[in-house]
């Protein structure tokens, strides 16, 4: 790197124009600052979330940080393990498979309509009302599926009513309500709702299973 040469050059240039001791101090400071700045600039671009470790960091701090980072990774792993066990327990305790019903919401492929909210009623009882943030909507548009409701129903036939509100890509209000009959058997019931904006002010609500 040619930064030292750059400092010398700039220092020479500046010293010629500075008239007092004070200015010499300013020039030295500025040149050094400039020098360190330019050397800072020379870093290659990365396409990852972490930069190359900067040179000149305190070795002790670096080691401490690495050690802590490793401990953080370990505890993350432990907590994930606890979460898995807790989820299993929760499912067994609160949503046994014989009565479990889970409702998932997704958007049709390439859907650009803005989903604002979804409401669910099972047998006339409101069970879920969800208002979507921008990030959530984006996640749905990318193909993510939201589990909007997990609950319990008895085996047999049930009525599921879905109400959707949103805006079409053209800014037109979209609202729709559809009722479907679902059958709960002994195994967990997974209900898939796929939504699409038709641009006519209606939303298309499709029901399926997984």
């Amino acid at each position: 790197m040619t930064a030292p040469h750059m400092c010398t050059r700039l220092a020479r240039c500046l010293s010629a124009s500075l008239l007092s001791d004070m200015r010499t101090r300013l020039q030295k400071r500025s040149a050094m600052f400039f020098c360190s700045r330019v050397s800072c600039l020379i870093a290659f671009a990365l396409l990852s979330g972490v930069d190359i470790v900067p040179a000149g960091a305190e070795p002790v701090t670096k080691e401490q940080m690495q050690s802590l980072d490793e401990q953080v990774q370990e505890i993350k792993s432990d907590v994930l393990g606890i979460a898995a066990e807790l989820n299993g327990l929760e499912e067994k305790l609160l949503y046994p498979s014989s009565t479990q019903v889970a409702v998932f919401v997704s958007l049709g492929e390439g859907e650009a309509f803005r989903l604002d909210s979804v409401q669910l009623q099972i047998d006339g009882v409101p069970v879920a009302h969800y208002i979507y943030s921008f990030k959530e909507l984006e996640a749905l548009q990318k193909g993510g599926v939201q589990r909007i409701y997990t609950g319990n129903i008895s085996t047999g036939e049930h009525q599921l009513e879905i109400s959707v509100a949103g805006k079409s890509s053209g800014g037109k209000e979209i609202a729709a309500t559809e009722s479907f009959s679902i059958r709960k058997d002994v195994e967990p019931k997974l209900v898939a709702i796929t939504l699409a904006g038709q641009g006519s002010g209606d939303a298309l609500i499709q029901l399926g299973g997984w």
Partner: protein, 623 residues
């Protein structure tokens, strides 16, 4: 202001990571897609939690090939590795991907795994291991990662001091649609590191003129122009340096540096008047930035060179005051950090909701501890430590919530036990009674069925007689037996009548045999239907009965175990948070102390300069 390299890589990461290759497809598995839903929102803990469970269940089922995850299992395994990587769990991510590499997988899958592993090593600052992982890539490389593989290879070469090799790789990437701007910039840096300054300047010039619209590409273009300007300034090409620096957008994160250098370029060309323009703009900007501080001294310096000593004195005076204000802020920040306010501020909910909140934090008058957070974020170590601290805080709040959930579970179980336990003995007694009846009826049905089946082979008309007919037959038999020993004419007539009646009975049974057999089968079918309903109800009852027991029995051990695990994790986590927090505070205080020293030096210089300019202005006025 963020260090340029760090800021640049952050922008690149923001654009490229969420849409990573493992997340591009829509698998037909709700739980996998649910994991993706979380991952797309950068909620990697939830994504991992969901997908880990799903994969574990997939391998636990008897026939995995019937599972909806089966066609996507490789994709899911990769995604787990990716999520772990994004969640900064490099160790686990590395192990997961190494497991894929060690498995019997197809060449493209293997190559993808090797690429991911190389990325992990590189991010862990192990470039040589990263290169070894890349060397495992051979044969068919999937199209979607081909450019990324080469880009990573070039970065590894640069990190290991092999710029000439990096140049060879990057030259082929400059036309890439996604990587073009980055590749050209890196090519410029590689050429520079290889001592080929002229070529480096040419490449950076090209990188500084690419047509761009997205934030990452614009940022790398600005950075190219900034570096190019600095190099041209060094080579005393002041005019070219000006042109390059002028191409940096004023709203760019690199604009402060560009404005500062632009002024220095003018000063170097002894064009002090022109230097006033960029430095005047810069001196008005956010006063926490080091470039702005420098401009606050440089601007009056330029005026003094133009012999405008009065204006210079005023500006030096303003600089003294500004540095004084800034010093107060720094001191207040250090003080607030020392009493623990910094860590509290870092865990504010707003930081997680909106990354730009870090920028807003410095404008909060009641929170001086966070004025310099944005500046501190320039350090990669600080960023990692901060992210770890935030992750730990997130885990802590989860664990605390879970602890409460476990308490609630215990309450639920106690309530269920109190409800069911007194009821179940009586229910069981009634059930046993009904169970005995049901079994009896089932046996009876089975017996009838067997007899009917037998009659298809060996007709048995007696078996199809009605109960009235059977009673009649018995009565006729009794009467016949009573008449057996009587020989009078009346008895003889009665015997004949009995015989006719028996004949009539037999006639009916025999002539109606087929019809009766058909009816019997029909009745059996009807009975079957009833038996099915009975069986379904029986099964439903058994399930409900089991569910009642399962709703409160068998939870004690797992809940106690989880209580212990959560408690231990919480204890470890709090200790770790304290250590991580201390580290963050130390880094912040070190950084701010350095800043304070710099500001004090600036302030002293400004004071001297103010006095000098004031004298000169006074002398000029006297003349």
């Amino acid at each position: 202001m963020l260090a340029l390299g760090t800021r640049c890589c952050l922008i690149a990461a923001a654009v490229l990571l969420p849409a990573g290759s493992a997340m591009g497809v829509e698998p037909e598995d709700p739980f996998f897609r649910e994991a993706l839903y979380h991952a797309f929102q950068e909620r990697y803990f939830e994504a991992l939690e969901r997908l880990d469970t799903e994969i574990r269940q997939h391998y636990g089922v008897d026939e995995p090939e019937l599972d909806s995850l089966y066609p996507h299992i490789d994709h899911a395994e990769f995604s787990v590795g990716d999520f772990e990587l994004y969640y900064r769990m490099h160790h686990r991510a590395g192990r997961a991907i190494q497991a894929v590499l060690n498995g019997n997988v197809e060449e493209p899958v293997r190559n993808k795994a090797a690429f991911r592993l190389a990325k992990i090593h590189f991010q862990k600052n192990q470039p040589r291991d990263a290169l070894l992982a890349l060397d495992e890539i051979n044969g068919q490389v999937p199209e979607e990662i081909r450019g990324d593989v080469n880009f990573l290879r070039a970065n590894i070469y640069l990190a290991t001091g092999r710029p000439a090799d990096a140049v060879d790789v990057l030259e082929d990437l400059t036309n890439s649609k996604d990587l073009g701007g980055f590749s050209r910039y890196n090519l410029g840096i590689a050429l520079l590191q290889d001592g080929r300054q002229e070529e480096a300047i040419r490449e950076l010039d090209r990188a500084g003129q690419v047509v761009a619209s997205d934030r990452a590409a614009l940022a790398i273009r600005d950075k190219s122009n900034l570096v190019l300007g600095a190099l041209q300034l060094e080579a005393s090409e002041f005019g070219s340096a000006q042109l390059s620096l002028d191409r940096v957008r004023l709203e760019s994160p690199f604009s402060n540096e560009a404005l500062l250098l632009s002024g220095w370029a003018d000063v170097s060309a002894e064009n002090f008047e022109r230097a006033l323009v960029p430095w005047s703009i810069l001196a008005e900007r956010e006063s926490t930035d080091a470039a702005v501080h420098e401009a606050m001294l440089a601007l009056p310096f330029a005026y003094s060179q133009l012999k405008v000593h009065g204006r210079a004195a005023v500006l030096y005076g303003q600089a003294v005051n500004a540095f004084g204000d800034e010093l107060e802020k720094v001191n207040a920040s250090i003080e607030r950090i020392r009493i623990g306010n910094f860590l509290e501020a870092l865990t504010r909910e707003e930081i997680r909701q909106d990354k730009d909140w870090v920028v807003h934090l410095r404008s909060l008058p009641e929170a001086p501890e966070t004025f310099y957070l944005l500046t501190l974020m320039a350090s990669h170590d600080f960023q990692t430590a901060l992210q770890n601290y935030l992750d730990l805080e997130d885990l802590r709040s989860k664990l605390v919530t879970w602890q409460r959930s476990l308490d609630s579970f215990e309450d639920i179980i106690a309530l269920r036990r109190a409800y069911y336990e007194p009821l179940l003995p009586e229910i069981d007694r009634q059930f046993r009674k009904l169970d005995a009846q049901a079994r009896l009826r089932q046996e009876q049905r089975k017996h009838v069925d067997q007899r009917l089946q037998q009659m298809l082979i060996m007709p048995n008309s007696d078996a199809l007689a009605t109960s009235a007919e059977r009673r009649l037959a018995v009565r006729l038999e009794q009467l016949a037996s009573e008449l057996q020993n009587l020989n009078d004419p009346e008895s003889e007539a009665l015997r004949r009548r009995l015989s006719r009646l028996r004949g009539a009975l037999t006639w009916n049974v025999e002539t109606q045999y087929h019809q009766r057999l058909t009816e019997a089968h029909e009745h059996l079918r009807e009975l079957n239907e009833d038996m099915e309903i009975l069986t379904a109800r029986y099964d439903a009852f058994v399930r409900a009965r089991q569910a009642a027991t399962h709703s409160f029995v068998g939870y004690e051990i797992p809940i106690n175990r989880l209580h212990v695990r959560v408690g231990e994790a919480l204890e470890r986590l709090e200790l770790l948070m304290a250590q991580q927090g201390y580290l963050l505070e130390s880094v912040a205080i070190d950084e701010l102390t350095g800043r304070r020293e710099r500001l004090e030096a600036y302030q002293n210089q400004a004071r001297f300069a103010f006095a000098d300019s004031y004298d000169r202005a006074a002398k000029a006025q006297a003349r």
